[in-house]
Symmetry: D3
């Protein structure tokens, strides 16, 4: 059975599925600039796509992506919108608390945006303490996958933003929303204070692209998604095992 | 020009649009049971659809729907998930604060779920005080539209949930997600304590449907959406006028 | 036995009363303009009077009215003072928590001011979850009572503010505080944006009266109070029954 | 002109009074046990009476007493009900913020209950920082007044609770609510841990009286009230002078 | 066995000590002006010294002093830095919660700064409610000790700040940090509004000294510390007895 | 001039120093297990030592280290104590707000504990927005320094905890608190779920050491401290330049 996507599923099927131990997968996105060739919703789009790839083999509940995240350092690019870290953490905790009361056996949080990492982690702590086992994942093994599949180099180690990686994944998931004709490389110089003061990325990167999106293809995008899902599988197995769940 | 839908728009177009006074439209949904024939995301789906109808003639920014809302009294139907009112209010305030800093001239919050009303209203107060004019709308005039277009009667006055109204709108917007074969009427008896104590609706309504979804059609759905948009137009005109904005 | 009014009752009698299952009644008021003929404390005065009528036949604990509420949209009339919704909700929760620890069997919150409705409801949710059954009441059936007893028409459906209804109840409860010579009708035109933006009522109503207080009499006031109490009785019966309490 | 008591004053008179610099006086009470001879509302009753004595010569606004305070260490006597310190502080701040926006020139907080002291003080800090001059008073000089007028000794230095002092003031202000036949002395032994651990007073004082209420008279009560008001006068003069206000 | 000072103790010894019932001692300080002859850290230095004297005979855990406290009314002297009362309370609660989970049998909070008193007390309430017995101490009996040992008079009753008392204790604990050549007396006149409005002490005391530090000696300082510890002993005995702990 | 260490400095010198633009340095530590050979205060000890090396050439204010941090994942080792991330963030903001009002030109936060990173960063955001330029540093370039100076390998990349690095720095700063005879290597196997669920480190590491502390020497410790300070210098230069400060 595939995942139960809440976007197409009535509650009656959720109740039926919960008769046996069931996980839920919550994708986290952001409303954030992704250059001139990608829409503002990239992070939620990708997180939802990857979450689906993860949820399907688990027969899990696939929850709607939280489309807003913490994208503070992209705020200077109009279109970027953020939740504060405290709000985002509270939202994840609220959702998890509902899942716990619903009888879900565990929650996988699948994060598609760097700025959400800490709120996700803190929410997972609280939910775990409250009795809902939580697995929090960024894209496991993406660095290795990028090294294998990319024809371009990243703008900085482990920094994939509006580049070949994200553009490929968008081509795989939402090709209609990609404007390859507007894709242009950008390898900005990181200023010495980067990472040591609160700084807007626009200060040193006028376009918002980090890397080179031009070699992106849908095939690579599918490879990334499949690769992340494959990397995730043993982690989930360990998670199921740890919590005494079948699988 | 149509609305700038953030789901397909790069930030560069948002910046360009903001060269002139621009409104943003934020749809509010919920993850909530809607009977056996509709998916859990109905409220966000409809709010987004109506928001688009409102945003298009305004050349406004169409923001991603907040998919989670406060659906506390549906919590007993598995699949329902809520944000607490405080979290939801904080999320709207955070988003609005970003819009204000971005230079948006005003925010229209379009609410598709009753339980979001008060958090929306309180967020609008705070944002207005902070300098962002806010218009907060449920579906203006829906009662009159229902009286005109519906072949069924509502389960209670001004109570449209998984009924002919919502089902019709879903048939207009997301027909693939509607299972008309599972649509069945439900006219539960409201217990005397309803509205006077915190009460789960499932206590007196086993299916979650309030009314009769069977006469629903896509045509009626389009009529509802167009009717709401038409009812909204003079309110928005007054809003623009009040804030010295063209339109 | 009548209610135990905390304003005249030592703690020793409360302890004695709690030997059997006992309800408490908490009136909610506001410090808010009520035209030129009524004092700022009307909402607390009326809520206390109605609460007493409800508490007496129940032998309940009659708590001091919370005199401050959320009267945000009357703030432009000097004399109006508000608690924020979050503060008001916290106050009700704190009081309820004390009642729960005291061993009270249930709490009836009797609200005399529209702006308190949502904080009351959210507090009731939390207290119910914590184990204190809560009944939250505005004035049940006031609309029907007004239709029966009033010689004037309301300024808007279900809108009773400094009008014949409230003035009559004040004449019944605190006649010394009513200045009938200053009573004057006011039927303001509600602007199109009313209810859709945060708006001060003074913007379109210079006097603060909504309706016509001139036909008010103490007799009508007593009829309203008795009528509300009568309408409340079956609700309370259901509440007692639901919670396994005698009565 | 006497104080403008909000319990009898329409908003129109408040607006008129505010044409010249005007102070507001906010009494703070508590719902707390006061032995078998006094009602639970003593602290609010007395604070209101003293506040009136202070407000009258100032032509000030006399606000409704906040009837609930922080009476944590009396919680073991049924009937006692508390706001948390944070809630109480927030309530005072909310009220003060409304006064500031209303154009009041300064706020005198008159506290009738020991447990409210710190929340009052912290609220005064915040309000002063926000631009509302705040004077926070417990009963100035009460110790000296008690030494002069009392025929009994206090149960502990500066500890006046349900004793000759409070009972006298109640006899002066609300004689109908005093049951002198139930007045009995109580001089409990304070345990060594008193003041060093969170401790319920009932642990070592079964009646709740601290001292001897029997010699109480209304005359003494009037002397206390007048004496406190007299002690307060020079403090208020200094407060007015400091803030450039006439008087 | 002496106290286990966390500044020199590995976790392994803490675990071993916890095999039997063990108390922890948490000193509270402040970063606050103490005249021209004492450093800003006096309150933490002294609290740590006294805490050590208390912890040693108890074989207790001696925790690092919280160096920051609420010193609001010294803010006008540069160098003073405060935590808000809410932050300080939260910090104590967090630390206490960790102790509770660690299996500590009780917490002694030893406060060296007046402004910390209320946050300490409120934290102790919460921790006690959560199951960690808490004793909260300022310097017990310091007033009597000062009367015995001091050659100077305090600037106000029970007001010991940068005076003979604190300077002596610093001479006993951290003589290198004392500049006796800069010690000068200061007996400011307290303005009539002192204690009734939020007021910076610098307004009426330019040096920050309250009293006369010149007669200070290390011997007196040792006498104060030993005296406080001696005064504390019976309180701790009562605390141990109350909680069924050996000692 | 060297740094003004608050532990030895009266306020009068702080005021004098502030006559010219002055930075403050705030060290962040933690109370956390560091194996059987190091005390629980290592992180604060080291952060203070490094902060001093940074503050001295800047003539900066050297603030007391915040000794408590967020050490959640070490909680299973007794002795570890944490502030919640929200409390820690609030504490840094409170301190920074005091510095801003004091007239400090900028704040350098020097973090000695990984778990404090995010609260530090969020506090820096808020303080920067409030007008206090903030630089937030972990130990810059420590990885390269470790690669140069260490004779042992780390237990994981960029993971230095109770190992050769930290032990060397403790030998340089607080040799009396180091028990080299108890130093023993530990190279635990990280479980597959590490980093993906909230997990206590003790689950897979019984001693708390990560790496091999045995080759540690004071000389290496001094080299680390000097190296970090050297790495920090150009960052601070850029920070000063960015904020128009001399240096």
């Amino acid at each position: 059975m595939p995942a139960l996507d809440f976007a197409t599923t009535p509650w009656t099927e959720v109740e039926a599925r919960l008769a046996r131990p069931t996980l839920a997968v919550l994708p986290l996105g952001a409303v954030e600039q992704h250059g001139a060739h990608l829409p503002l919703t990239v992070d939620a789009d990708l997180a939802l796509g990857v979450a689906r790839a993860i949820a399907d083999p688990l027969d899990a509940l696939l929850l709607p992506a939280m489309p807003y995240g913490d994208a503070w350092n992209n705020a200077a690019y109009p279109g970027t919108l953020s939740l504060s870290p405290a709000t985002l953490q509270a939202a994840i905790v609220d959702i998890g608390e509902g899942l716990r009361q619903m009888g879900v056996a565990g929650l996988i949080i699948l994060n598609g945006h760097f700025g959400n990492h800490e709120p996700m982690l803190l929410a997972a702590r609280r939910l775990s303490d409250a009795g809902l086992p939580c697995l929090h994942l960024d894209y496991p093994g993406l660095g290795d996958l990028a090294a294998v599949h990319c024809d371009s180099t990243p703008a900085a180690p482990h920094f994939y933003h509006a580049d070949e990686v994200e553009t490929s994944m968008m081509l795989a998931l939402r090709p209609d929303a990609v404007r390859m004709e507007a894709a242009a490389p950008s390898y900005p110089t990181f200023p010495p204070l980067f990472g040591s003061i609160p700084m807007q990325l626009r200060e040193f990167n006028p376009t918002g692209v980090f890397g080179d999106p031009r070699p992106a293809t849908a095939e690579k995008g599918h490879a990334f998604i499949a690769g992340i899902a494959a990397n995730t599988a043993p982690i989930i197995s360990a998670f199921l095992h740890r919590n005494g769940l079948p699988g």
